[in-house]
């Protein structure tokens, strides 16, 4: 049963019950949706980006506890970060949830420092099928940031309204019979 407790740590259950930043932004710079065709988890992530940093972020949608808690913790972790820092955070997070071996104690400590409370998702590694749940919102975030950059490059003087981001199919579909 300890594997289950490792997966559903208190912090995760708490963020699932009371997700942070659980709203769509009114005037996002970028927005994208992520959907897991396997189980119907679907989230939209919207961001405001200014001077290369995430100044505001929100998410909406529905899904399992792992996906919702991950989305919630992601929004608190990346707020204020630069785009490069957000991407680096995702790489570290992906490594942790996929159980990528970390070199030595010093490196392990460094990863924990960088990830902060996101380390709570280390238990996902024991349940590989749930990796897609944990990373769903993150993929949507990356797509939203890409949209923000593209929009920035395309037009300085765009009038209101934002195109919804492309559907982000996470690491392939594997519907089975």
């Amino acid at each position: 049963m300890s594997e289950l407790d490792d997966l559903y740590q208190t912090l995760i259950l708490e963020h699932n019950r009371s997700p942070r930043n659980f709203r769509d932004l009114a005037h996002p710079t970028g927005r994208a949706e992520g959907r897991n065709p396997l189980c119907g988890d679907a989230f939209a992530v919207s961001v405001r980006v200014a001077d290369g940093a995430i100044t505001d972020i929100g998410f909406s949608g529905q899904g399992c506890a792992i996906s919702k808690a991950s989305a919630s913790m992601m929004t608190t972790a990346v707020r204020g970060k630069t785009l490069a820092e957000a991407r680096e955070l995702f790489n570290r997070f992906h490594g942790v949830v996929t159980g990528k071996p970390v070199g030595d104690d010093a490196e392990r400590a460094s990863v924990r420092r960088v990830l902060g409370c996101l380390s709570a998702f280390s238990g996902v590694a024991a349940f590989p099928i749930r990796v897609k749940c944990a990373t769903l919102a993150w993929h949507a975030l990356l797509a939203a940031l890409a949209n923000a950059q593209a929009r920035d490059q395309n037009s300085e003087a765009s009038s209101g309204g934002v195109a919804a981001g492309p559907r982000n199919h996470d690491e392939g579909d594997d519907a089975v019979r």
Partner: protein
């Protein structure tokens, strides 16, 4: 509640036939309740496939050497065996495919593709698996046919009276399942096929969830096409059967082209073999067909009535114990069903329930079960499904309940 004496079922003896049941999951005995996804395999099936590879491993279709002749005759013997088993009039009505999905695609593309015209209607039930929905979309888009929905009742079955309202003069095809992979409902195929016939329409039946539990007689059912998979029937993956009425198959153009399905070939053109060969291009899944034959032989030596009574007892027990848990809802009918129970837990996403069960060695399926239209009809995005086989036990039900209760504690929904 039936007062008939249940025929005896020696579950421990059956369990000894299935090597996978020795497996430990996360340090616990496995409680395999995902049989609707795929069934476990008994030793005789595995031995039959190994025997092919070890002693008569050769290609089929009348090679000139002995091993090839053995392979061919064993392969064709399975065709005859399956034809008898499902009540087909003629072995030529049994086409081997790679599974139910490819069988349904074969019908949609070859039969549908040649017989449908713009404005023709294809009626599809609301509770179909995607494999009996999407192939029809693909052909309808190409040809300009119209898809019409056949709704299910509140109780989760198909009412023939409802079918009468939906099936009309333009209907050419009715696509229905024999048993629902989500609700377990046994659909009144016989009545619906009769209504279809009255309108000159053809019934295409997805029998994947039926053959593991019911005795199926396609002639008696009046199905024009009937598809099922070996792997849900305790056989190997990679083999399925399309039963097609002889006259329908004979009128159908080829599906895939290549060796084995031709009569003669010049560079510019070819002529085609009669069915079933016409629809079996290339080297077939020979070992898998041998395995399917062994699976059919294996279940045939069971008292299937007793096997079904055992499964029903477990499904009913699981349903009752699940419904006794506050916030747990079971979906689908409580009678005229077989093999499974689908449920949701208030406040806990099915994926999380599934993981809580996985943590104690219980295998279930959580998600939309390749039946998104049905999920929408039920008003949910996903459910949990526990599906049973004759080797499951009351201990498996105990584990299922314990897992759900553990999830409720963990998520604080007491």
């Amino acid at each position: 509640m039936s007062l008939q004496t249940e025929p005896a079922w020696d579950v421990e003896s059956v369990r000894r036939d299935f090597p996978m049941l020795e497996r430990q999951i996360r340090g616990r005995a496995i409680a395999y309740l995902d049989n609707a996804a795929t069934a476990l395999k008994p030793a005789p099936v595995l031995q039959a496939m190994a025997e092919y590879y070890e002693t008569y491993s050769a290609n089929v279709a009348r090679g000139v050497h002995l091993a090839s002749q053995e392979a061919t005759s064993r392969f064709e013997a399975v065709r005859e065996q399956v034809a008898r088993w499902i009540g087909a009039a003629d072995p030529a009505e049994v086409v081997f495919t790679s599974g139910t999905t490819s069988a349904l695609n074969l019908v949609a593309q070859s039969f549908g593709g040649s017989r449908l015209g713009s404005g023709d209607e294809i009626v599809i039930s609301e509770m179909e698996h995607h494999s009996n929905i999407v192939p029809w979309h693909l052909v309808a888009e190409r040809i300009g046919a119209t898809i019409r929905r056949l709704p299910i009742t509140e109780a989760g079955t198909i009412d023939p009276a409802q079918a009468r309202l939906v099936i009309g003069p333009r209907t050419r095809i009715i696509a229905i399942c024999h048993v629902s992979n989500v609700l377990g409902t046994i659909v009144p195929v016989r009545e619906i096929a009769r209504i279809a016939r009255e309108h000159g329409a053809v019934t295409v039946v997805d029998g994947a969830q039926a053959v593991p539990h019911l005795d199926v007689d396609v002639t008696e059912l009046g199905a024009d096409f009937y598809a099922f998979s070996g792997h849900k029937l305790f056989g190997p993956t990679g083999i399925g059967v399309l039963y097609g009425r002889r006259d329908l198959l004979e009128a159908m153009p080829p599906w895939q082209g290549g060796g084995g399905m031709i009569a003669s070939v010049e560079i510019e053109r070819s002529t085609y073999a009669p069915p079933p060969a016409r629809f079996e291009a290339g080297t077939p899944p020979i070992a898998e067909a041998i395995g399917l034959g062994a699976a059919v032989a294996y279940v045939s030596q069971w008292d299937r009535r007793a096997a079904r009574a055992h499964e029903d007892r477990l499904v009913n027990l699981a349903t009752a114990r699940l419904e006794a848990i506050p916030g747990v809802r079971c979906h689908g009918p409580r009678s005229d069903r077989t093999g499974l129970v689908t449920f949701t837990v208030d406040g806990i996403h099915p994926h999380d329930v599934g993981t809580a069960l996985d943590a104690i060695g219980v295998a279930v399926r959580a998600g939309h079960h390749c039946a998104q239209p049905l999920m929408a009809r039920l008003g949910v995005t996903a459910t949990v499904r526990a599906s049973f086989a004759p080797y499951n036990t009351e201990a498996d039900v105990d584990a299922l309940i314990a897992g759900v209760e553990r999830a409720r504690v963990l998520f604080g929904v007491r």
